[in-house]
């Protein structure tokens, strides 16, 4: 009786001493409670658990972690770290919640990887493991008449693709290792893993043309093809080039109408018609997807960037919980999002270079300059759509759309009507309506390309 009473009191004491928002992190030495909120974990605590010596400089407002020869500096509120003296962009910011520096697993892994550690598992059951135990990627290559298929298996994470001349980077949210050299044959000269990134060195004249994930088991596929036609197009083309992006595709149906109309089918049809009309006027037009295939949002603008397109138009059909919603609207990038994304993109561009503030500013200025042209493109599109019979003008707006953030040329996203509205859904599914929308889009793009840039206002 007495013993039971003592145990009950001790149990009560232990309950009180356990932090409410701590999560047990499994380490090689057993579970350790670490402060967490949703998917955010205390960065400093986790870095200390690796055995690193962690110091905080109140003057600089930053933490420094030392483990062996490696040094990692990170600053609460920042999205960059300094690893062994080099500036490294982080997947996300380090925030301060309840006086603790916290970040997502992906961001923490970018800091842990140089120290030889990795945070794996789920937000509810994370594991801190040495990098040697990180998942091993297996790369297989298959040559086909149109190029090479690269299949990466061994991680269920969907990587971010960053193409650049001669190489391809796939950045995963967690540290990796290469299980073995790539198998099979194809136009890949070599593969290596740097922390959370798989780096593929490509044969000359080859580039990634599409990517998609597969399940059971999880794989990530990259299709490589010769760049020669693209290079010709870029260097030898005489007229402007427009990239049209039919939204969604494949398993991603987009919005669905009451009669089963699918956004992915309607916008593909409109994009094809628009491309045909543009080409008939001598304007080169390319589609981001030619058929019913899934393409990441980043890949869509990446194609337009590689082709150095003069304009990028993403075509969508809308839906709303408001049953009476109808009409067309056109968007371009909002300035806030543009600034943040441009800065991050610029930092990524400078991954292997020393930090250069001037480059960051130049990138930002170029992006802001495109905002004016994007606004002009969006207004041209909305203006032409307003002339169509039965289309209600919902105006031009700005929003931080992912598909527009990476574009390095004037870009707009047009919503041609509401599939959630029965009348509009039936109209959008009809070929005559699609053709009249394509005609309006063609006229708008032509007027945008042919109109001279407005001259800057004279200084007072």
């Amino acid at each position: 009786m007495r013993t039971r009473f003592l145990f009950a009191l001790l149990g009560l004491m232990l309950c009180f001493s356990t932090p409410v928002s701590a999560v047990p992190v499994m380490t090689p030495r057993g579970p350790v409670e670490v402060f967490s909120r949703a998917d955010l974990f205390d960065v400093a605590e986790l870095v200390r658990l690796t055995g690193a010596e962690v110091g905080f400089s109140a003057a600089a407002g930053s933490y420094t972690a030392l483990l062996g020869e490696r040094e990692v500096q990170f600053t609460p509120g920042g999205t960059l770290a300094v690893v062994d003296g080099r500036l490294v962009p982080l997947p996300g910011p380090i925030r301060v919640v309840e006086d603790r520096p916290v970040a997502t697993m992906a961001t923490i892994n970018a800091l842990l990887a140089p120290l030889g550690w990795s945070l794996r598992g789920t937000a509810a059951a994370p594991q801190l493991v040495p990098l040697a135990a990180a998942p091993g990627l297996e790369i297989s290559l298959t040559r086909s008449p149109t190029g090479t298929l690269v299949v990466a298996r061994g991680s269920s994470l969907r990587p971010r693709m960053d193409p650049s001349p001669g190489e391809l980077r796939l950045t995963y949210g967690a540290p990796l290792r290469l299980a073995a050299p790539p198998t099979g044959e194809g136009e890949v000269l070599g593969a290596e893993v740097r922390d959370t990134t798989l780096l593929l060195r490509l044969a000359p004249g080859v580039e990634a043309v599409s990517t998609y994930p597969l399940d059971n088991p999880p794989r990530y596929v990259v299709r490589l093809a010769a760049t020669a036609p693209t290079a010709d197009l870029v260097t030898h083309r005489v007229g402007p080039l427009v990239v049209l992006d039919p939204g969604h595709g494949g398993e991603d149906h987009g919005a669905r109408g009451p009669g089963g109309e699918l956004e992915k089918d309607i916008v593909l049809s409109v994009a094809r018609m628009t491309a045909a009309r543009l080409q008939a006027t001598g304007i080169e037009a390319r589609l981001t997807r030619e058929g019913d295939e899934n393409l990441s949002l980043q890949d869509r603008t990446a194609l337009a960037n590689r082709l150095r397109a003069d304009a990028f138009v993403s075509i969508h059909a809308n839906a709303s919980t408001a049953r009476g919603a109808r009409g067309a609207e056109t968007y371009f990038m909002s300035a806030d999002a543009s600034d943040a994304v441009a800065a991050r993109a610029a930092a990524t561009e400078n991954l292997d270079a020393s930090p250069d503030t001037v480059q960051l500013i130049l990138w930002d200025l170029a992006h802001v300059a495109n905002l004016n042209a994007s606004s002009r493109l969006a207004r041209a599109i909305q203006g032409r759509l307003n002339h169509l019979q039965g289309i209600r003008d919902r105006g031009v707006r700005q929003a931080p759309f992912v598909v527009l953030t990476g574009a390095t040329m004037p870009a707009a996203l047009v919503e041609i009507g509401f599939l959630s509205n029965r009348e509009e859904a039936a109209r959008l599914a009809s070929r005559p309506a699609q053709d009249s929308i394509a005609a309006a889009l063609t006229e708008a793009i032509l007027s945008f390309l042919r109109a001279p840039e407005p001259s800057p206002e004279p200084e007072p």
């Binding site: 009473f5 004491m13 001493s17 409410v20 969508h316 408001a322 109808r326």
Partner: protein, 183 residues
Amino acid sequence: MSEYRPLLIAAAIVAVLVLVVVLARPRPESPDEDDDSADVAPTPAPANLVLFFPGDDGLLHRESREVHGLPTALPARARLVMEELISGSAKGFAPVFPWPITVEETFADDQGNVFVDFSSPPVATVGGTSTELMLVFATVNSIVANCPGSERVQVLFAGREVKTLGHLDLSTPLRPRPDLVAR
């Protein structure tokens, strides 16, 4: 009586230890439930919230709502605002969320960013930019309008940051959009 003396001494020691541990605990980390009573004390009088709901015109429409027991602590207040938003419009405006949803957690950082963790959406992508735009900015505008100290809001789903629900970039906290509100 003397046979109970060791038990009483042990109980007294444990009680003192419990008291020390409780007093030495770090600041409570679930403000929704555990914040100092001074911080979360509900306002005694009824208070008016301003909520934003989507209309047919693609704009957000203000709707005033009287609530009792409005907490003063930011995370708890943000949760109450979201629960009122989820419960729907009393004036016939459209629902903000196209699927059943609950608020799992709300918290804030020291930069004026409020994080709202929702239960998972039932589909991978949301159909229509309008649905997504209204969902996100009804949330952002409603929280910033009613929660002093909040400047930006980031929505999370199932405890995770999401890049997008199909269109908008949700990877960073967003500022309110007064231009999306009907005049």
